[in-house]
Symmetry: C2
Amino acid sequence: MKKIRIIEAPKHIGETVTIGGWISNKRSSGKIAFLQLRDGSAYFQGVVVKSEVEESVFDLAKSLTQESSVWVTGIIQEDTRSKFGYEIHVKEIEIIGESKDYPITPKEHGTEFLMDHRHLWLRSSKQHAIMQIRNEVIRATYEFFNKEGFLKVDPPILTGNAAEDTTELFHTQYFEYDAFLSQSGQLYMEAAAMALGKVFSFGPTFRAEKSKTRRHLIEFWMIEPEMAFMNQEESLEIQEKYVAYLVQSVLNNCDMALEILERDKELLKKYTTLPYPRISYDEAVELLKENDFEIEWGEDFGSPQETFIANQYDQPVFILNYPKAIKPFYMKPHPDRDDVVLCADMIAPEGYGEIIGGSQREDDYEALQTQLEKHGLDIKDYDWYLDLRKYGSVPHSGFGLGLERTITWLSGTEHIREAIPFPRLLNRIYP
Amino acid sequence: MKKIRIIEAPKHIGETVTIGGWISNKRSSGKIAFLQLRDGSAYFQGVVVKSEVEESVFDLAKSLTQESSVWVTGIIQEDTRSKFGYEIHVKEIEIIGESKDYPITPKEHGTEFLMDHRHLWLRSSKQHAIMQIRNEVIRATYEFFNKEGFLKVDPPILTGNAAEDTTELFHTQYFEYDAFLSQSGQLYMEAAAMALGKVFSFGPTFRAEKSKTRRHLIEFWMIEPEMAFMNQEESLEIQEKYVAYLVQSVLNNCDMALEILERDKELLKKYTTLPYPRISYDEAVELLKENDFEIEWGEDFGSPQETFIANQYDQPVFILNYPKAIKPFYMKPHPDRDDVVLCADMIAPEGYGEIIGGSQREDDYEALQTQLEKHGLDIKDYDWYLDLRKYGSVPHSGFGLGLERTITWLSGTEHIREAIPFPRLLNRIYP
Ligand SMILES: [Mg+2]
Ligand SMILES: [Mg+2]
């Protein structure tokens, strides 16, 4: 018998096929049973009519428990009442693995309970939908940067020094050396850009930060493009083009997932309009002051302030040129003003916060050395990084996009912990 | 002036354009200077004719040092003598960053010296070519698994337990917990397959192994597909289709890189022919014995033995059904024989060794529990993993492909350390 996946049903109308799947739900009367089937590709209904099958098949259908696995054989038919549009008229059922007392029932469960059962929770339709959106964002990222002529470069995870001056690093013993888990591959990506021109990384990063908010993960994935011969203005154009591409790809390819998540597609469509609005840090501070926020020039924005700024616009917004004092050592100062740097954060709409941070990089050897010293960093640790300014330095810019924050936003999910298959949180390293 | 990249030259013949790049080499006479330019996208020649440019431009051209960065403006022309086929007739040169005493000269350097300067060594044409092949293998991997209906799933890097019973793990303190860096995401991928059907991971893995061979890295990238409702036979078909797809993609899209690496394309073409040959472990042992290797049934193959087996064939070869005793706890025993498991390694041709290891997974709760105990593993650590056999267990199979081993093979590189941008080796965590 032909084995197909549920997602392939539209190509097999009227054919008898076999599908391997799990029972996600079931209802039955004396004459008919409706099996809600899932196989990871999609969900659809299996209809078992008592008068059309052997008695043992109908009895088995009625006895199936939640998450039991089965081979189901039957005929694919159109089903105009369901969103998916197809169903299977079941002729035979073979049980593969029973499932007794499945812990996640259709009733409400607490988050800690669900997190303890994350390996099973992923089977739920909402989690499945978020993982489909995650997959699409990843797929579209590779497609976008490949089209734009970038090469994928993987910076090391284990490093001897840190990209930013912070103590929030995981330590490990690397044979006789001390090593840390990378919280950004940027410095390495700068070296790669000098060799390969336009590059992007896409890998896990780690922050041993004791914060417990709905926007923070300890282990998260970042996309970090770096571009030689590009200034900050050109980088901003790539950034907005990339984010709009992600939104459009999700709209094009995740229709069922967006339905399940009840995500407003009209809202998402607005995020595909370019260019994105821009506001300077200076203007943003003024705007906040006018609206009774307590902030002084020189301070960083908190979450409520970012949300207030974002709410002024229908698209993601760039905040440009932050004070030098609150940004990392490697950012290039504004040519006309020494107190701000050539940088921008992109703030997502609807209160989802910062999804991109980027800047033009300091490309002058002396200036970079001075900055390293001012930040109390050891020049020796940055020997190879300084080399990039010694041997044919060029203007270059880059940025980092947080994968899970972007997924949280696109899927309209409340908490970032649902945007990654197995979240690592302050008090969680299980499962 | 229109800014283009070298790779775009064919679309701009006869046009005046500006290119940002580095001087990789140079030769000049009294009347003409030839600048070898690179910008990360490709290499080509800039021709500066003394009688056609301002005197200052010609003087600057003659003074340019290796790896100095420049904006070059001129007219794109065909150049039938070069492999790339195009060159630029230079009108103006603007120097961006000087480069004095660039450490890597066209002469021979020792490997340790080059590794110490990896951030610069990446600019060399051979390293550039390997990185292009790496990019293509990554790109083709996403394309293949997306087409085949797999979802990308990222298993966690920080974990509380290990996939295989070994002490070769990096440890870190995860707040109040002990954590280890993942050396395989497989167990998590099995959970994901039960939720999403067909999944693949692609991320860094870590082995704190004190081996120093030309096939080992401490930090390396793995692709780990896992498929619900698939047996080992179906998995083998996916594996060979995937590897042939990688080879074909490199042949299609890395022509210049293969030229630079002097890689035999006719040889690579043979690796696109399917199916790949198969030999059982039993047969392989017999073959080795007949050829005077000292090996007994039950022992694992070493590198010379794998190479001997591979040399019997013109394609990668599968070695099937290894002894249970030398394979991990999660592999499913052969249905007819309890002493071997349903597994296979794929051995690359030309002595490049094992590039894939895969198996059908034990899907029976009791059998898995017994195996865990036999391997001296703590059942409690595998609680969630056992759940997968408790709630709708299904036949499932998966495999892992080592990215850098595959790149080493496809690029015909001697040592795996050149297959990754910033290698982590036994005595190296710099740069
Ligand atoms: Mg910020
Ligand atoms: Mg082996």
